[in-house]
């Protein structure tokens, strides 16, 4: 090996060249597709965000510089939606992490019924988010829901108040996505060496100590990756608030605001500025995870 690496690599063989060329050809469609459909429209959004431009008044299009951003960041609607999104993200991800870990642990330890359990847990994962939203909305709605009857709440209107509506939105989100996070955690859990557990047991460590000192540190990578993916996923939440409240009672999220400005109000200048801010917020979250929490993404990327 050492002699091979000492040789100066001046001439790249035809074979290596051919391999590189083939690699580029095979990946070119993926590259093109991903860049054309995301980077190009995003650049277009950056340009549009500098204009005052409504589809209802195309003639009134004018360059306004960063004014749209200035308007948005001083507007209570943006900060209200920002807070709603933040609350949903923190609450759902925190609960999903704990419940998802318990589910993963049960999936790891269970002997009888392992197959049926995994089949059942995949149902919420595969179900359409909009369907999940309708199921939970109708469970809590005044005219169709059983929840108020079962818990003696008579005519409490869950969707009439911000926090109770957010409770139902989070419930639907948690129900649907906990199975996904538990499968990611299960993949990390099976990699924790069993003999380390045994050694700790022999040394007299309690179950809680083994969990905190042995199991969790050994699956840190899997936990961080699951956290990052679920945090970004929750931050982009759109379907549940749309189906349940249409954003009423201060339950609008940032993705919903971007949709409403762009598609409902066709206010493309302002809408594009919100799109860019949404993109930047996602970049910021990913940056915090990678630089701040040292999340190792090489395993996800597969290199």
């Amino acid at each position: 090996m050492s002699t091979a690496t000492n040789e100066p690599e001046v001439v790249v063989s035809e074979r290596v060249k051919g391999e590189r060329r083939l690699g580029l050809w095979l990946t070119a469609p993926s590259f093109l597709m991903m860049i054309l459909v995301t980077a190009y429209p995003l650049g277009y959004a950056v340009v549009l965000s500098l204009y005052n431009y409504r589809l209802t008044d195309p003639g009134g299009r004018e360059f306004v510089g960063l004014n749209n951003y200035w308007v948005i960041l001083r507007d209570a609607v943006w900060w209200n939606d920002f807070m709603t999104t933040l609350v949903i993200t923190v609450v759902t991800v925190a609960i999903e992490l704990v419940v998802g870990f318990i589910f993963a642990y049960v999936m790891l330890r269970i002997i009888r019924g392992r197959g049926p359990l995994r089949t059942a847990i995949l149902i919420p994962y595969g179900i359409v988010t909009v369907v999940s939203a309708f199921i939970w909305r109708y469970a809590f709605a005044l005219d169709s829901g059983f929840v108020n009857q079962w818990f003696g709440l008579t005519d409490f209107n869950w969707f009439g108040d911000r926090w109770s509506a957010l409770f139902v939105i989070c419930l639907s989100e948690i129900w649907k996505t906990t199975p996904f996070i538990s499968l990611l955690l299960l993949a990390g859990l099976v990699q924790v060496p069993e003999d380390m557990q045994e050694a700790a047991k022999v040394d007299g460590a309690t179950a809680w100590q083994r969990l905190v000192k042995v199991t969790l540190p050994n699956m840190k990578a899997a936990i961080m990756v699951a956290l990052l993916f679920r945090t970004l996923d929750a931050w982009r939440i759109f379907d549940n608030p749309f189906v349940m409240t249409r954003g009423a009672n201060n339950t609008e999220t940032i993705s919903f605001l971007a949709y409403r400005q762009n598609v409902t109000l066709v206010n493309l200048g302002m809408g594009s500025a919100i799109s860019v801010l949404l993109f930047l917020s996602v970049v910021a979250i990913a940056w915090v995870f990678v630089k701040g929490f040292k999340t190792d993404l090489s395993q996800v990327r597969g290199d």
Partner: protein
Amino acid sequence: MKTSRWWTVAGLVIVAYSLFPLVWMLSLSMKPPSDIVSGEPQFLPTTWTFDNFTEVFSQSLFTRALINSIGIALIATLFAVVVAMFAAYAIARLDFRGKRLLLSLALGIAMFPQAALVGPLFNMWRGLGIYDTWLGLIIPYLTFALPLSIWTMSAFFRQIPWEMEQAAQVDGATAWQAFRKVIVPLAAPGVFTTAILTFFFCWNDFLFAISLTSTDAARTVPAALAFFQGASQFESPVPYIMAAAVVVTIPVVILVLAFQRRIVAGLTSGAVKG
């Protein structure tokens, strides 16, 4: 051996957690609409009926949407899997510059906030004349399904013993025979699993479906559900919406029942271990 029984009990709790909302959905879908306006709604129907399903299938709003959903999801899945298969093969087998770049780009796309594209795509698609068409939805679905498809498939492709191809050729098989008889059977499960996960992704979308469509020319079921009305304006649409929801859940349940092992393997290998 007592502890193993407790784990089974815990497993049953999780099964109940997963399936209870489905029971509620079925119950709602079989309620007569008059059950919905009553003062004290119950969990189960007063009388069980299949009329809601008949009604849903008689409305073109739903049947068109179902055709759109199936067609768009299948076509987007097919293209995503083919495009990703080339990339995954290159990642698993070849050494070339741009490999890391592609994997990083895929990671970026997986994290991309799709709502940020709704405005520009809405505007671009109208300019290109593909707003409210199948193509207009297939393109974003294909794009956003690519990261998942590339990761899952390259994880599977890495586990293939590729040297068996040469071994077969040494044994006298032609290159084509070696590929078809040895590599294809080894690669097929990974490709198939990727197709299932990609299909779930396309089947689930709501944001693009309501933003890039305006009529039943391309509106998919999740988007149509938001517009669904009852048989008349005096009746609650709830049982009809739930009947439609049951119909779009059936393919998910069938795929999960048939391919549980593969889906779990695909999700865990593609997402964490790489």
